[in-house]
């Protein structure tokens, strides 16, 4: 008898599933989340995948929809989306977050809490700042090849890093860490719509510089390159274009294999001096002229030209960061690591020291190989 009651109780557990289970037919995956400002309200946009597979779709129709809603708080706005969407959205699949420029420039506190607190938002989701247009607009645009635009934009940052080497992808976790840690400020890639033919295509375009709880300015692509060199640690991939040693009008492309950056902090008589050691290695990739330049002498010259180019990029980046007074390189953390006592003293007025911080960039570049032909291309 007791056993029977026990079995019955167990069976009664079955209908309990109703509260928790989310059948796929009642849910939809959010591929990208966006937050922007509309007037005084927060506007949240969600890009959701349609149910049918992208291959069976006619090329006219997009395989996703972007839905937006407005609310006084971010969570109210997200809940308002359920007014027009008949399904529960699964945020856990969103791997990219779009931050509207207006919102970023006003006050990050409007959304920082929900980003850090919500269990359904992935901390590994990539972050981009939308420049020039509204978040909703960029989330409705189509990317070439990738049927789900949000995933396409997410992969832009990752893919260009190996190929071109301008932007450093930033995850939400890193962003929150940089926001909430003294001595380092976040730098986030920007995306904007660029006209190509008759289409508006989302394209990476500079980086947004943050300080405190708002965005204070932007770096150009060139300055972002400088940031990538300076950023502490190992960087891999990318390309660098230098003038040809034979003809300053022509160009030589070098491929970067790896580059290692280290900070040396010197504290003397209450002054802080920072030396940045960049040790890079690359391959000779291409020249757009003729002429034999692959001999020892010219290789040495090219290495020096590469050093000059890298130094120039770094310096422009440093100048811009110091002008915006945002410690995107994490030099405050470097000072703390090198000399905790000094950091305790300068911590409170770090942003008065930072713009005047004396820096020295020391670059080494080494050309490792030249691929298939040892000689240069010759026309005969």
């Amino acid at each position: 008898m007791q056993r029977l009651v026990f079995v019955l109780l167990l069976l009664l557990l079955l209908p309990l599933a109703g509260c928790q289970a989310r059948e796929t037919n009642n849910t939809t995956a959010a591929l990208g989340l966006g937050a922007d400002l509309e007037g005084e309200h927060i506007k949240v946009s969600i890009q959701m995948a349609k149910d049918s597979p992208p291959t069976s779709q006619s090329s006219q129709e997009l395989p996703f929809v972007t839905v937006s809603a407005v609310g006084r708080t971010a969570s109210e706005a997200t809940r308002n989306i359920s007014l027009s969407v008949p399904r529960q959205t699964l945020w856990s699949h969103a791997t990219i977050l779009f931050l509207g420029e207006k919102l970023a420039k006003r006050d990050l506190a409007l959304i920082a809490d929900i980003l850090a607190r919500n269990t359904d938002i992935r901390k590994s989701a990539r972050l981009v700042v939308v420049r020039g247009t509204s978040t909703e607009e960029i989330m409705s645009a189509q990317t070439p090849l990738e049927p789900y635009a949000a995933l396409g934009i997410r992969d832009l940052a990752r893919n260009q890093e190996k190929q071109l080497g301008i932007y450093t992808p930033v995850s939400l976790g890193e962003f929150i860490y940089a926001l909430s840690t003294p001595g380092i400020d976040p730098l986030v890639p920007q995306v904007s719509l660029v006209r190509q033919g008759d289409k508006q295509i989302p394209t990476l375009n500079g980086s947004a510089v943050f300080k405190g709880k708002r965005m204070v300015g932007s770096l150009t692509a060139d300055e972002t390159r400088g940031y990538r060199w300076i950023k502490k640690g190992l960087t891999q991939g990318g390309i660098i274009v230098i003038p040809s040693p034979l003809d300053s009008q022509k160009r030589v492309s070098l491929e970067v294999i790896r580059s290692q950056s280290q900070y040396q902090v010197e504290t003397k008589d209450n002054t802080i001096k920072l030396r940045i050691d960049i040790n890079a290695e690359g391959n000779f990739y291409e020249q757009n002229s003729t002429g034999q330049i692959l001999d020892l002498k010219h290789l040495k010259t090219m290495e020096q030209l590469a050093v000059d180019e890298i130094t120039r990029q770094c310096n422009s980046s440093i100048t811009r960061a110091q002008a915006l007074n945002s410690d995107i390189f994490g030099w405050g953390r470097a000072v703390e690591a090198a000399s905790p006592d000094t950091w305790e003293k300068v911590k409170s007025d770090w942003y008065e020291i930072f713009p005047q911080l004396e820096t020295e960039v020391k670059v080494k570049f080494f050309i490792r190989r030249t691929y298939l032909t040892a000689k240069s291309f010759e026309f005969r």
Partner: protein
Amino acid sequence: MRFINNKKKSNPVESPQEVIDQPLVADINFNIAQLKTLLERCSDAVFREFLIGPDPATRCLVIYFDGLVQRKILDDNVMKCLQLEVEMTQDPEDKLEQRDLLTAIEQRIVTVAELKQVTSSYAEVIRSISSGDTVILIDGCDRALVAGTRGWEARSVDTPENELVVFGPKEGFVETLRANTALLRRRLKSSEFKIENIVLGRISKTDVALCYIENIAPTQLVDEIRRRLQNIDIDAVLDTQYIQELIMDNRSTIFSMAEHTEKTDRTAAHLLEGKICIMVDGSPMVLVLPTSFPRFWVSPEDYYIHYIPASLFRMGRFVAFLLALTLPSIYVAVISYHQEMVPTALYLTIVASRQGVPFPSFVEAFMLELTFEMLREAGLRLPRAVGPAVSIVGALIIGDAAVRAGLVSTPMVVVVAFTGIASFVSPSYNAGIIIRLARFAFLAAAAVLGFLGIMIVFILLLVRMVSLSSFGLPYLTPVAPLNTQEISDILIRRPWFKLHKRPYEEGMQNQVRMKKPEEGSES
């Protein structure tokens, strides 16, 4: 009433129940009458009455069951000898006592290897002829001669259909006990290999053989199993499973407490590890005990191929085991609870294919699993000729039409099909049964509580398994209790040159399988 009274008057014999335990008497006519009463309406019983010796000739009876004897032996070595030789060997002047005549026949005349003189009851005579022996009765003698003339139509030794291997011995047991013991004796040519005979079943009188290797198998265990076997009181034993259920420690568990096998090599290997085998006449299945659950994933083939691929295959088998057990439940849990666990692209594919499916994923999985079980069950019993038809229907209707009709989703079909394949990987059919049943428990738990439910069922399953023991051997040996030495021959296949010891068992007497080189030089 009148009929019974009549019968009693006209016949000196009592009812068969009373007759059967009575001893044989010297009067052959009486014996014949009694036996005929006992074997009334047994059309296969053959009574051959004849005379032997010089005049006055002695009456003699040969009795056997037709079909159970080898006719040629009976004709040449029994009948011919009796009818021709008795006359020649006997001196007409010297009249022998009838008992001496019987001894003379036994010792000098009948040329059958297995021949014995018995003083016994009619029951014994019936038992002997039922086993295929021939009983010879002589007038004036209260003893009988039993000649071993057994021989009947039987299946020849064949490859077992359920335990197929690519490498190694392929021979399997048959339904005849003697043939089976002979197969084992051929593999273990030692006097230490014991085959004890126990007769079970009030009607069937089945020969049951208890096999073990003395000095390896734990004596206590052998005694205990012998005691349990002797305590069995049942009308018939038709298969080893009867025995298993009757001698098991724990009667309410679905876990098989003994291993069934049809392979002679596997049985011999078990015997050499101190296991005890029970064979039943009439069944090709051998019961091996005690056993432990991890052993179910050890295939005898592992020991016949190189140990590195064998180890990999074995690991693959364990993976397949886990998948067969949990894959549908993991899928259901992921789809209904933990959507964030799958990569986005996969999730979108699943969502796309589940679009329009009218059932919750649990119902979908349950239906498909049930269908698969039905197909499998039907496939077992199909006549050969209809087999292809059913597999076409199964594959097309279930696999294709159901998906097209939108009743089930494609990923679910893939999951169930994969699980089906994985569940056939287990080399032991018994273990496969456990997987099939436990899978449904996992499925229900996943539908109720997601991964949490799967974990709960998993823990309950483990708790149950560690609490079981098969004739004193913990059911999860050597995993729990952990034995690092032996577990290395469960997870991977240890090379033979490393297998110095037999797997330990309580009370095992001789654990050394192979002397280590340095020990060898000492002795």
